[in-house]
Structure formats: structure tokens, C-alpha cells
Amino acid sequence: MQHNTAIKILSFGLIAEITGPEFSAAAEDTQALQSQLLARFPKLSETKFAIAVNRNIVHGLTPLSTADEVALMPPYSGG
């Protein structure tokens, strides 16, 4: 993993229990990041989550660059 392309990743809810609340990764876009995450944390395949880049929810393929902050946000259902 190249240090100069490190992206900060924050996880929430059940995702945080799988990945830990904060870690870093290197990927050129959200799709590459997702496949990397699935390889690193296979349990992620069992749960749905939204991806935010710099606090904006993104849909589909989104390029990532150094110093981006990614959030993995699962739905909560409790009430």
C-alpha cells in the first residue's frame, strides 16, 4: 500500500464492528475500494452500506484521490 495514496476510511454501525471504526486504504475509485474491502473483510458482503466521499453520498463509480475521506454508512433500523 502506497502511503501517498492513503485514503482515510470511517466506518459506522455494524460496519465498524467488522472493519474497526477507522482505517486507511489506497484505491483509485470507489469500485476498486469496494473490491479491496470485500477481499479484506469478507463479512462486508453480508451487509449493505452507503459510501460517502468527503461527506457526500456517492452513487456509482467515483474517483478517489489522496486525502479524501470515505465513510461507510449502513442503515440502522432500531427504534
Binding site: T47, K48, R55, I57, P75, Y76, G78, G79
Partner: protein
């Protein structure tokens, strides 16, 4: 000019609020779906604030394990319908507002009947089936929705389906287009919850409702606000329309959607057994009883059973040679999933049942009998 009401004096005194905002509240109507952990604080503050008409939808009854967080209820209310008790308490709190109460769980049909009678909807439910149903109904019926949800020590609040200056609206499906399987996420009955968390999140939902109704600005439209109770960290995400977000195209289509099925819960051909009925059923039918909780889970039960955790059933389903099977777990969710799995592997003539509300409900029933 309306005569100022001393009940709302502190609102009149408040800068940027005053008589004008109070009158907006008094002319407004809010439907609160779910009178549990989120609904109780939301209802208390909305009623106290003087929202002119409040509707309460909940088909559940008060139980002992609700009381640490569902602040409208007291110990003597156990077993009574939440909607009726909430109605009584809120009427005492503020007899000057109109309160309607509905002792049922929300359905597609009820949403279509009720939502048009209110200005704003609050989703205080505890399951994905209800959350997607409410979201879709709000989109189709043009109702703004205040959303709140919790998981362990974390909470989410958002405002959906409220147009900004350019007319743009976003909804829950822009965030999560496809309903998760309910089994992906544990509810409070499984995962536990610190009582104050829904207190905070439900109160913030009331706050969003009041801001929207009084046009105070800075509400959470196009945003998901999340909060972690342990670290006091909050994190706000911005939402934009998601091309994958597909809401049923019209009311007729909406009415035909089975949200329970979409969220992977429920199943046909599975009977529910209530805690009251269980012991008679076990003696009269002599069924095979399966505990599908994981092996470390307690409490143990005092009737004959085998333990096959749901996780093992999913890997390999044994060949059950019994005409009648009863499945149970802690809260009745995993047992329903297990019963659905087993149902699919057995002939139609076999009878599959699960214990509604699980061991927790059984314990509460036993507790009620002993006191």
C-alpha cells in the same frame, strides 16, 4: 388575533419563534408512527409544544423491557396497548390539542388512508419493512418525513421528501436504494440499547418537525446526521438523488408491494404461537422444538428441545422427521427466519410454528403470571 395562551409563554418569549411560529404549530398536524423508544420522547415534545393535531400509530402493547427507554409508560401499563396509553398521557399533558390513536401496525392501506390527513410524518418504527413502506408512501403522497433510527450507541436523523428552493427532494432510497434484509441488522431486542439513545434521537426528531412546521430553517433535508453516544462524535452526510432509487410508480403499485417479503421477513405457512399458548401447545401436540439461538445464548428453557443455531441451519438444513415443529429464539425474529427455511424443505402437510416474541416474551408472560 388569537388570544396568547400562557401554556406556550416560553415559545412566545423566544427570539425568532414568538406568537407567529406558535400559531403555525397550532395549525399543524403530525403523524407519529411507532410509540416506542423514538416515538415516546418525540410525542411528548410535540404534544407539549402544542402541535394542533397528533396521530399515534402503534399496534404493540407495553412490556417490562420497554420501560427503560419508552418514557410515556409506567410499570402498571404493562400489557396495555401503547397507542391508548400514549393517548391518555399526552391528553393529560396537553388537553388543548387533538390526538388520534390507532392500535395497529402501519400497513400500505393504512398509510394511504392516514398520511393525507397530516402535514408531516415521523418514522419512529423499529424495522426496515415499515421504514421503506413509510418512505415510499411519503414520496407518493407528497408528505415530508422526519426519519430517526438507532443501532447500539449510534443514531441517525434525516428529513426526507421536503423540497428545497429549487424543488429538489431526496428520500431514504437515495441513501439506501435496496431494502436490506432485516437479518443484516439486529434490532434493540437483540442488540440491546442504552435507554437514553432513543431519548436523544427521538427528541431531535421532534426538533426537526418543529423547525419544518415553523419554517425555522437549517433542517436536515438532503442530509443524514449521525451521532455516536459514546464519543459524542457526529457526522453529517449530504444526500443527492440516486438513479438507483426506485419508489413504486403509483399508489396502486405501492398497495401491492409486500414490504415484509422485500426485507426478508415473514413467510407463508408459518404459524405464530403466543407465550400464553405455548405450554398447552407443547403438551397437546408434542412437536419437535428447536432453539435456534447461538450455543452461548441464555437463558436456558425448562421444556424439552434441541438447539440448532440459525447460523448452522443456514449452512446445512437437517432432514427433520416430524409433522409438527416449533422454533424459538430470543425475540422471535431469528425463529421466523429459521421457520421460513425449514418450511421450504418440508411437505405442506407439516406444521411449522414459531414462538412470537421469543424467550423474552415468554419470560415477560411468566413474570406477569407471578406478580
Amino acid at each position: 388575533m388569537m388570544q396568547p395562551n400562557p401554556r406556550y409563554q416560553r415559545h412566545y418569549d423566544l427570539q425568532d419563534f414568538g406568537v407567529a411560529a406558535q400559531q403555525k404549530l397550532e395549525r399543524a398536524s403530525v403523524l407519529v408512527i411507532g410509540a416506542g423508544g423514538l416515538g415516546c420522547p418525540a410525542l411528548l415534545y410535540l404534544a407539549g409544544a402544542g402541535v394542533g393535531k397528533i396521530g399515534i400509530v402503534d399496534g404493540d402493547a407495553v412490556s417490562l423491557s420497554n420501560l427503560h427507554r419508552q418514557v410515556l409508560y409506567v410499570t402498571a401499563d404493562i400489557g396495555r396497548p401503547k397507542s391508548a396509553v400514549a393517548f391518555q398521557r399526552l391528553s393529560e399533558l396537553n388537553p388543548e390539542i387533538e390526538i388520534e390513536h390507532f392500535n395497529y401496525f402501519i400497513t400500505n392501506q393504512k398509510a394511504v388512508e392516514l398520511f393525507p390527513q397530516y402535514d408531516l410524518i415521523l418514522d419512529c418504527t423499529d424495522n426496515f419493512a415499515a421504514r421503506y413502506l413509510i418512505n415510499d408512501a411519503c414520496v407518493l403522497l407528497g408528505k415530508p418525513l422526519v426519519f430517526g433510527a438507532i443501532f447500539r450507541y449510534e443514531g441517525q436523523v434525516a428529513v426526507f421528501n421536503l423540497a428545497d428552493e429549487s424543488g429538489l427532494k431526496t428520500n431514504y432510497r437515495d441513501l439506501f436504494p435496496i431494502p436490506p434484509n432485516q437479518n443484516e441488522v439486529e434490532d434493540c431486542n437483540h442488540a440491546g440499547v442504552l435507554g437514553v439513545l432513543p431519548g436523544i434521537i427521538g427528541t431531535l426528531m421532534a426538533n426537526e418537525a418543529i423547525k419544518i412546521l415553523c419554517s425555522l430553517g437549517h433542517d436536515l433535508r438532503h442530509k443524514l446526521w449521525t451521532f455516536n453516544l459514546r464519543h459524542y462524535q457526529n457526522y453529517t452526510l449530504a444526500l443527492s438523488p440516486n438513479p438507483a432509487a426506485i419508489v413504486p410508480k403509483d399508489i396502486e403499485t405501492f398497495l401491492s408491494v409486500d414490504y415484509h417479503w422485500l426485507c426478508g421477513v415473514g413467510g407463508t405457512g408459518i404459524d405464530e404461537i403466543s407465550p400464553q399458548e405455548l405450554s398447552v401447545y407443547l403438551t397437546s401436540q408434542n412437536p419437535l422444538v428447536i432453539d435456534v439461538r447461538e450455543r452461548h445464548e441464555s437463558p436456558e428453557v425448562d421444556f424439552e428441545h434441541v438447539r440448532i443455531p440459525l447460523s448452522e441451519l443456514k449452512k446445512q438444513l437437517p432432514n427433520f422427521d416430524s409433522e409438527s415443529i416449533v422454533v424459538f429464539c430470543q425475540s422471535g425474529k431469528r425463529s421466523l427466519e429459521a421457520a421460513t427455511l425449514i418450511r421450504a424443505s418440508l411437505p405442506e402437510s407439516s406444521k411449522i410454528s414459531h414462538l412470537k416474541g421469543g424467550i423474552l416474551a415468554l419470560q415477560e408472560f411468566a413474570h406477569g403470571q407471578n406478580t
